[in-house]
Amino acid sequence: MYRTISPKIACIVMALFYMANSYILGNDRIAERNAWLCILLSAIAFLPVFFLFYLLIKRFPGKNLFEIVECIFGIGTRRVVACIYAVYGVFLLSMSFNCFARFVSSNVLPDTPKYVMAIAIALCAAYLVYQGAVVMGKWGAFVLPVVALFIMVSLIGSIPSLQIRNLFPIAEDSRKIAFGTYRYLSFPFGEPIILFSLLPWVRGTMKMRHWLIPWFAAALVLSISFARDTMVLGGALSGALTFSTNYADSITGYINFEQRTEVVTSLIPAAAGIMESAVILLFISQAFDAISGKPWIKTGILAGGVVALVLCFTIYGTPSALETRYQIWPLISVPLQVVIPFACLCVASARNGLRRKILARRLKRQIM
């Protein structure tokens, strides 16, 4: 039985992680009618970060984030960094549970209590993590075509309702576009650092394209989806609605279809949500391992999952609470994506340079 996944499968898991998040959770409309443009700009702006990730994993192949930190800074720093990322992961997971549960409850199964959906997603995600990255990869390979089809059908269905005039950017919105681009740098819930958790299971090397293809595919899906919402609903209305995608779907008649086939469609967001939650849960369990120094996978999954579920219905209890946290999130998220990996790379490069100099000196002495 294989215990590793190929870079291609890792790509699929990444793509599903980003696409599910971006399509269902990407409802931050700070730039209103220009949200689609901000997504593309922020996706491009994130390129240096992926280059940073690429250089880091090239130097430390097959290691997760905490193992890399340990190699460079030692066990003490590893524990501190793991604590920070464990808290970050739990908050992210709780937000993810809340959004997926809210999406399903408010659009597909209106009367189903949110906690039922959230617990179901949490249980399935925990099962996937417990089974390991190979099962997660298989789940991804099974679900991705279905999610892609779901998104394509809804986009194609809206073609007759598109008003291209609504899409044109307005000059006075340039500040909003700049701010929106910064906000989307955190790519609502598309947190690439979390995907370091998959690396120990990847067979072979992750090349730059393996990072970029899923990222741009997801950015394109979200951008097209937002552009579609703006063209269908109009600039002002699409900017004012949370989950504007679902309103646009309802205009195009897709929701009617969805009602009839709710058995299938209610599972699709859930399936994507399961993958996203599983990846975050895997990251949390690795953080627990790194804190304790022992393989605490069961404890990590249980503790991380339960705390995230509790937070999901307390601090993100209401849509307005979630909205408030949307505004704070980029301030926390963006530095966490960049600062620690950058520090790791800088210190590793400096040490490598120092080691080379010492070796060169020694060699010189021996020759002389």
Partner: protein, 373 residues
């Protein structure tokens, strides 16, 4: 252990597969086809819902049933109907919402909020304004003999809108226009017409809104002109007089280009309209094979369309209702200049318009005369 966990998850999903938490059967719901909103003298809102009754009677098929509820707000009126009928109102299939003109004059902001925030309300609802004493009366009129009048009236609005005689405005389009700067909206106008048997629905013209309030009406001819200037119509029939001869033409391939030009504190609208036409009917002695006659007709038709369009613009300016969305065009083109206008409504009232209309005969052979007797 793995099998047990797998089975547990499978059973958990089986629960979700049904998709029916707190489900209600069809017979526990009242399916709404359309509704009318009236403002009563007491200030309360009267909601009249046309519902679909499947209980049947002598005739097969669905029958229409009218339910009414009162309340200080639309939500209260909805609850009132639910209380009376003992069934939850199911709005997913509703297509039409008719507004009483008195209610529309007071403003429909509350209604637009309700439509956006109420999950079950459809943003695809067609909105219309009743020209009758009350909006509820519309649901009593004959609508092509259809059992479910709301569905039939929605179809009539769609059909009339295709010919340009009215506007077909969905709730989401109205809400978006109400939120955008420099643009107002219009809704279909519903009247009654006396037929041999009884009063029937007559949809023609539109109701104009400024902000969220009804400010005036346009007849069907004015509505056609408005839709032409909005570039939202490709073909229409026009009847006019040349040398006391009655001529009917079918125009198509309309291309209307509107260019706002901002000059200091004001702006000028430059409009160029082009179309092709063919003669459907003429009752004079014109020879349509004669190039001079065709040229004369081109000029006369162009002048007629220009006159009608300018009349409409004057009327809209008189009502301070920018239903043509010119303010929005200026905002899109130069937002800073738009913001500098103290009040777009005031600018719109006096905005100079330069309009050129060019109509070309598609084929003079279509002007063949039919000789009688």
């Amino acid at each position: 252990m793995k099998k047990i966990v797998f089975l547990l998850i499978t059973f958990l999903f089986l629960c979700l597969l049904s998709g029916c938490w707190s489900y209600s059967e069809l017979n526990e719901r009242t399916i709404v086809a359309g509704a009318a909103i009236d403002r009563l003298e007491s200030g309360e809102i009267l909601l009249t819902a046309e519902t679909i009754d499947f209980t049947g009677g002598e005739s097969p098929g669905a029958e229409s049933a009218i339910l009414t509820g009162k309340g200080r707000s639309i939500a209260e009126a909805v609850y009132d109907i639910t209380n009376q009928s003992g069934k939850e109102l199911y709005w997913y299939h509703a297509t039409l919402l008719i507004l009483d003109n008195k209610y529309a004059k007071e403003g429909i902001q509350e209604l637009l909020d309700f439509l956006v925030n109420q999950l079950e309300m459809r943003l695809t609802l067609t909105l219309a304004v009743s020209r009758l004493e009350t909006a509820a009366e519309v649901l009593q009129l004959d609508a092509h003999g259809s059992n479910i009048k709301s569905f039939a009236i929605t179809s009539i609005i769609q059909e009339q809108s295709r010919f340009g005689k009215t506007v077909h405005s969905n709730a989401y389009q109205v809400i978006n226009r109400a939120m955008e700067p420099g643009v107002e909206f219009a809704l279909a106008q519903i009247m009654s017409d006396v037929t041999e048997k009884n009063l029937s629905v007559d949809v023609a013209g539109c109701a104009l809104f400024r902000g969220d309030r009804l400010v005036g009406w346009l007849d069907d001819k004015e509505t056609i002109m408005m839709k032409l200037l909005l570039n939202s119509m490709e073909e229409t029939e026009i009847e006019f007089l040349v040398d006391e001869s009655h001529i009917s033409v079918k125009t198509d391939a309309w291309k209307v280009q509107v260019h706002p030009e901002i000059e200091g504190d004001g702006a000028t609208m430059r409009i160029a309209a082009e179309a092709m036409y063919e003669v459907l009917m003429l009752d004079g002695n014109q020879n349509m094979n004669d190039p001079d006659t065709v040229a004369q007709l081109d000029t006369a038709l162009g002048a007629y369309v220009k006159e009608c369009a300018l009349d409409l613009i004057k009327r809209l300016q008189g009502l301070s209702c920018d239903a043509l969305g010119w303010g929005n065009m200026i905002w899109q083109k130069d937002p800073a200049a738009y913001r500098e206008f103290l009040s777009w409504t005031d600018v719109f009232q006096t905005i100079p318009v330069e309009l050129t209309v060019t109509l070309q005969n598609r084929s003079s052979s279509s002007g063949m005369r039919v000789s009688l007797g």
